[in-house]
Amino acid sequence: MKLAISIMVVVLLIVFAITAYVLVKFRRRAGQSGVPEQVEGNFKLEIIWTVIPLILVIVLAVPTVQQVFAFGDDHFNDKDAVQVKVTSHQYWWEFEYPQYGVKTAQDLIIPVKKKIAFELKTADVLHSFWVPSLSGKMDTNPDGTLNKFSFSADKEGVFRGKCAELCGPSHGFMEFKVKSVSEASFDKWVTAMKAPAVLPEDAALAEVFKKQCLSCHAVGDQGGPVAPNLTGIGSRESVASILLNEGQEGGKPVKENLKTWLDDPQAVKPGNKMPSPKDLGLTDEQIDGIADYLANYKLNY
């Protein structure tokens, strides 16, 4: 890419220089009469500006082809690769780690420096999986056409992921986070994810949560697969991918974000599939209780 950019800058400079020279040198001066020589063409010049671009194209084409094939390699079954099955939904991301039997949503936790091999598909319309600072993007197609690619993170940290294919009103809000952690932390995270679900302490609230939330969402070993998995949502980077939590620029406390979301999901993310908890008959106290419970549902890793 650096090669391409430098060649292109040189091309630009040459064209700009000739343009500037021509425009200054050959402007029509006052009182100028007579007709300039009518040049038909110049075989040598024309050959030169056909052949040089052709050579440049070849120079660019060779590394391009190499990289295309390198990018196309399937690392999914590599021994040391971490497999992740990505399923995109309007407007959230589901990450399944088949080797570990773990499913999560929105925050993709990966061990640093290890090859992460993805298998991508969508549950509804087309989306495109993109972590700008780690790698290029890849579309998620409906069933039957699985796309594969892989990348690895060289250092620990949180990287922003995005959807890059128009997928409906909240396309711009369909973000996710990639959290690159040490291998030890990653193992701890997997263990924590597999621990039994923690439910609200208040029995009545737990009942509401089970009935209203777990019909679609899941925590730990309980609940359904339709909506984002909520296990350990308290320690994620954001709520609903765009309400950033504390610790990030402009972030707010998790509980506040959860309450904003639960108050009116449509106002936060237009067109999303979550029914408003209030329409489901939840009272303000119940919503507050659930927000509090989820905010404190943290994973230690």
């Binding site: 890419m1 391409a4 950019i5 292109m8 064209v15 700009f16 343009t19 425009l23 050959f26 402007r27 029509r28 007709v35 300039p36 020589e37 009518q38 040049v39 038909e40 063409g41 110049n42 010049l45 024309e46 056909t50 671009p53 440049l56 194209v57 660019l60 084409a61 391009t64 082809v65 295309v68 094939f69 990018f71 509804d124 319309v125 087309l126 495109s128 993109w130 600072s133 790698s135 290029g136 993007k137 890849m138 579309d139 197609n141 409906p142 039957g144 796309n147 922003r160 995005k162 890059a164 294919e165 128009l166 409906g168 009103p169 396309h171 711009g172 765009i242 620029e249 237009p270 067109g271």
Partner: protein, 629 residues
Amino acid sequence: MAHAHSVKRHKGLMDWLTTVDHKKIGILYLLAGGLFFGIGGIEALLIRLQLIKPMNDLVSAQTFNELITMHGTTMIFLGVMPVIFALMNAVIPLQIGARDVAFPFLNSLGFWTFLFGGILLNLSWVMGGAPDAGWTSYTPLSTNTYSTTHGVDFYTIGLQIAGLGTLIGGINFLATIITMRAPGMSFMRMPMFTWTAFITSAMILFAFPAITVGLVLLTFDRILGANFFEVANGGSPVLWQHIFWIFGHPEVYILILPAFGVISEVIPTFARKRLFGYSSMVFATILIAFLGFMVWAHHMFTTGLGPVANALFSISTMLIAVPTGIKIFNWLFTMWGGQVRFTAANLFAIGFIPTFVMGGVTGVMLASAPADYQFHDTYFVVAHFHYVIVGGLVFGLFAGLHYWWPKMFGRVLNETIGKWEFWLFAIGFHLTFFVQHFLGLMGMQRRIFTYLPNQGFDTLNLVSTVGAFLMGVGVLLFLFNTILTATKPKGVANDPWEDGRTLEWTIASPPAEYNFKQIPLVRGIDAYWKEKMAGNKEMTPAEPLGPIHMPSPTILPFVMSVGIFIAGLGMMFSKEHFSNSFMSLIFNNWIVVIIGLLITFGSMLLRSLFDDHGWHIEVEELEEEGVKA
């Protein structure tokens, strides 16, 4: 002649509705194109206003998606296409020394179907919501399941009708250029604009049927419950992408080639030099058109076609840089050694060169699949194609409009305002789109209705919005210029730029109904210039003065288009539940569709049954006008 003068000549509105004169149809295309260009421009400004700051809520997410869809669709199909057709209509018959196009009736039909298609598409704004799945309308987002309003139906049926008009126009210009050239004008003596119009028409012929099929399939999915793109029933969404881009990429060259043609006319005229490397220009044009059909999948690098396809399409795409480069250097060397005059037309033409080159180099960067994984669907792409289409095509169109305006309307556009237009538009353009390259590289994906703060996007987006408004002012100035000019008296010379090289500058501005009293004899490339250099004031006629046969005006093309329009509306609402039982009766039983088709096919039948004998302009009349002039 028994039937001479027996044809009724209409006045006022009826004249415009019934005209088959290519010059008037050109003006109609210009008006319609201007209207849609204005609508698309307002949509663009709303988009930029929404993106002026992070987390803005000027328009809703749904409205924003409708705006981007309609902006793209309108600009491509209804904004720039008709302005290209306006120039082609106004200029091509004159450049090849013909009295009209091969099929004046079809010419009119092409315009009216285009116009009614465009109107139908834009009616969506007031009839329940505009299409919202992007101008590419990728499935499954554009299927019934995910796009529940009639928006996408307006898209499929409106574009279908407008596309039909374009296809008719393309065939007409192919036939015109093949058979109607004046004696002596061989293919290799045709002006460059005629050449590009010829190649563009050929591309229209081979590209548009693909989108016709694509739109039919999507319509059937949405209205008849077919399964082309329904994954659950075995359909394939990627199929749509292929069909769309098999049409869509040639479409880009359909748009840009005429601009190349305009530049190739304007630059030589104002440099007082013949076009450098004419043969290689022709060759490059043909090569670009040919390669244009082989690169469609470079829009689909991230779809997952596999490394072989990606590598091949990368290389074929990069190859297009070579013929394009040839053109750029030819233009520069046309000016080399010339006497360059900076009229408004030439400013736009010269401004085109560096701007288009910038769009070209980003194109080569995008052509590399591995790089495209990063650039794809970001603002880098948005910047790239606006550099090509606005910095290339729209600059070219403005150059062409300023250049040929006196030929079309008999008045030269105000040069001072023209130069202001150029500078405002050019500076605004670069402000708007140059920064978008960096937004893309920083990770701003396209088609997002807003963005979170703290990503470094804020300032660049603000700059971009300011630039967009500068462009808007430039366009308004152009509009003001045309209105101002219209108030001035007519009567510019045949050759107002004094250095005209081609046949259109040998006749009156605007030309008489029949263009050429006598068809000229062409003795070389740049026919008029050649005569000038030989000391002649006029072309040598190739025929004696005789009565001129003219086609009759007719309302049938307009009526046919109305019929298609009605059928289209009927089709769209055939599954709608109306509260009114009469409406349900006529729509749900396809009665409206049948009425519309009956109107169209009935008109066709009338056209076939009653021969148009046309009418004649007699020699005396021609001589009389000659005296007056």
